[in-house]
């Protein structure tokens, strides 16, 4: 067994960025001594499949079936396991997206092996990966392996590994002989209004906490997020107060994120919140209280009233 198989995720036939990151990382790891192959389930996806060679795939296994148009853990697991049988890889990579995190364990269990989620670092020891991953929501980092079990099923945290376009065309092959047995059926996908950027995928996040005082003031947070092209996040306090939906929550009981820029506005920095964002590359804090714990992990901070600081910030950014 050698090589890396990468599960590639699409939505409306468009390949997700996090999957391209996983594919490029597989290539950078030298395909772990073999070829980099991709498995792409969906419906009407031949264009998407043809494009994967440019991101590192030597071979693309396509499961094109109307029953796979929308995600199905059981159906997609069937396709991935079939691709594993054909490619015989030593590792299977998933993007650590909602879909990848849901599917990888199901595939691993079907293969009779374990899985390691949320990799932020991969080190090849001989033929096997050691995986660095945050635990306790980033309060600590573990380095772990699969105790000799192969293939190693690993999900990669989005936005940690770079997607790299390269010259290359992958050979596209059809994955035949699937016996789909789908019980839990996805009936539809309702996207959030306005195509809102999700914090889990965003490269820049602007978050509001208790200090923004009320739901109406998320408009101010949004104005800064729009100026920097980022997503709107929130602390648990703001979510529990009912000011914004839980899907925006960053922290130990929300989403754990590592964007390149995280701007915390009116967030004091409870240990559970810090755990969810402390691995961000650049952290900015805006808070009235100079003793707020958030300043201890901030790369840049302004001690001041966010209502006075944010509007001139937005203006200054627009003037850049």
């Amino acid at each position: 067994m050698a090589g890396i198989l990468v599960f590639v995720e699409q939505r409306n036939s468009e390949v997700r960025k996090a999957s391209l990151q996983a594919l490029s990382e597989a290539k950078r790891q030298g395909g772990a001594g073999g070829t980099v192959s991709a498995v792409l389930p969906g419906s009407g996806i031949s264009d998407a499949a043809a494009g994967l060679g440019a991101w590192g795939a030597d071979k693309v296994h396509v499961a094109d079936d109307a029953n796979l148009a929308l995600y199905s853990a059981e159906g997609y697991a069937e396709a991935v396991v079939k691709a594993v049988e054909q490619a015989q890889p030593s590792a299977v990579f998933f993007a650590g997206s909602a879909m990848g995190r849901d599917l990888a364990p199901r595939v691993a269990a079907r293969l009779g092996v374990g899985a390691i989620p949320d990799a932020v670092g991969l080190t090849l020891n001989g033929e096997s990966f050691s995986v660095r991953r945050p635990v306790y929501s980033g309060k600590a980092f573990a380095t772990a392996d699969t105790a000799g079990n192969t293939p190693q099923v690993i999900s990669l945290r989005p936005n940690v590994f770079a997607a790299e376009e390269m010259a290359g065309a992958g050979e596209v092959v059809s994955l035949d002989g699937l016996s789909l047995s789908i019980r839990a059926v996805v009936k539809g996908l309702v996207e959030a209004a306005g195509g809102e950027l999700d914090v889990a995928e965003a490269d820049i996040i602007v978050s509001g906490g208790r200090g923004i005082k009320g739901p109406e003031n998320f408009a101010l947070i949004k104005s800064l997020a729009d100026a920097v092209g980022g997503a709107v996040g929130a602390s648990r306090a703001a979510v529990d107060a009912g000011w914004i939906e839980h899907s925006h929550q960053v922290g130990q009981t929300g989403k754990v994120v590592s964007p390149s820029l995280y701007i915390a506005c009116g967030i004091s920095g409870a240990i559970q919140h810090l755990a969810g964002m402390s691995s961000s590359k650049v952290i900015v804090a805006i808070n009235k209280d100079p003793d707020a714990p958030i300043f201890k992990i901030a790369d840049y901070g302004v001690v001041g009233d966010l209502f006075d600081v944010i509007p001139p910030m937005v203006e200054a950014i627009k003037a850049l």
Binding site: A98, R101, D102, A104, P105, R106, A108, A109, V113, G114, A115, P117, D118, Y136, S137, G138, K139, A140, F141, A142, T143, A144, D145, T146, A147, R183, A184, V185, V186, K187, G188, L189, E191, A192, L197, D198, A200, E201, E245, S247, T253, I271, Q272, V282, I283, V284, K296, D299, Y300, V302, V303, G304, D305, D308, V309, P312, M313, A316, I317, L320
Partner: protein, 259 residues
């Protein structure tokens, strides 16, 4: 409607995490063990289902003696009975072994639905539910924030990036529960007293054919704390917020190259 809730006990989320003497696990001295916050949503949903439709809630946990308090907490909140598989220290974070242990416990029991939290807070794997579903040959719906359960099927809403998927599945099925699904209740004094009389079935993990000392699917080589951050640049903006704001934007642009 018989419900099985798989629960794990975890360090209180306010805990300061320190690396233990072996360099592979945490120092658990002084740690308070609680019901993993996401498992509270699973338990609450099961309680509401049985209150509406009859049937019983069985809580299953796999963990050392210290898990007993969290198990009693579940019984105090209204679960009818509990199963405690003793062990789990050597296999912490090994989702597949945990799923195999739970599958061995569940395979001969009768249930309509199995509910888990989306993850055990701490090891943060988010894997046991899906693996357990596969081992029991059940359909699963993960990261559920809306759930309607009928006599032989369920309809659920699950969170995905930037939206929500609507999923329908026949029963029996397994769901993993996300914040937003419900508001978990706390144990009242009456429940705490009643919990003392409720049955807890104890099972030694070895009797399920799992040897914790060998095998395994997830081996931690090293556990470390994140590197300490160096002090950042803090601008005083109390007197002139506009000047501070412009200064911050300049630093983010020119020094951090972040915007």
């Amino acid at each position: 409607m018989n419900c099985i809730v798989c629960m794990t006990s975890v360090p209180d989320t306010a805990s300061v995490i320190k690396v233990g003497g072996d360099g592979k696990g945490i120092d658990d001295s002084g740690i308070k063990w609680i019901v993993s916050p996401y498992d509270e949503y699973a338990l609450e949903e099961a309680l509401q289902l049985t209150e509406a439709k009859g049937g019983e809630v069985t809580v299953v946990t796999y963990g050392p003696d210290s898990a007993e308090a969290a198990l009693r907490d579940c019984l105090a909140r209204g679960a009818h009975q509990a199963v405690h598989v003793l062990g789990g220290q050597a296999t912490l974070g090994d989702s597949f072994t945990i799923a195999r242990v739970l599958a061995a416990v569940l395979k001969d029991r009768e249930y309509d639905i199995v509910l888990c939290g989306i993850k055990g807070v701490g090891t943060d794997c988010s894997q046991v539910g899906q693996m357990l579903a596969e081992l029991l040959d059940l359909p699963h719906v993960g990261v559920v924030t809306e759930l309607e359960v009928g006599d032989s099927s369920l309809s659920a809403g699950r969170d995905v990036e930037g939206g929500k998927e609507r999923v329908e599945s026949p029963l029996p099925a397994l769901v993993t529960c996300q914040k937003g699904l419900n508001e978990p209740r706390y144990a009242a004094l009456k429940g705490i007293m009643a919990a003392k009389k409720k049955p807890v079935e104890k099972i030694e993990v070895a009797s399920l054919g799992v040897d914790e000392g060998s095998g395994g699917f997830y081996k931690v080589e090293n556990l470390e704390l994140p590197p300490a951050k160096t002090a950042g640049t803090i601008i005083q903006g109390e007197d002139d917020a506009a000047v501070a704001a412009v200064e911050l934007v300049k630093l983010l642009r020119e020094e951090a190259k972040a915007i």
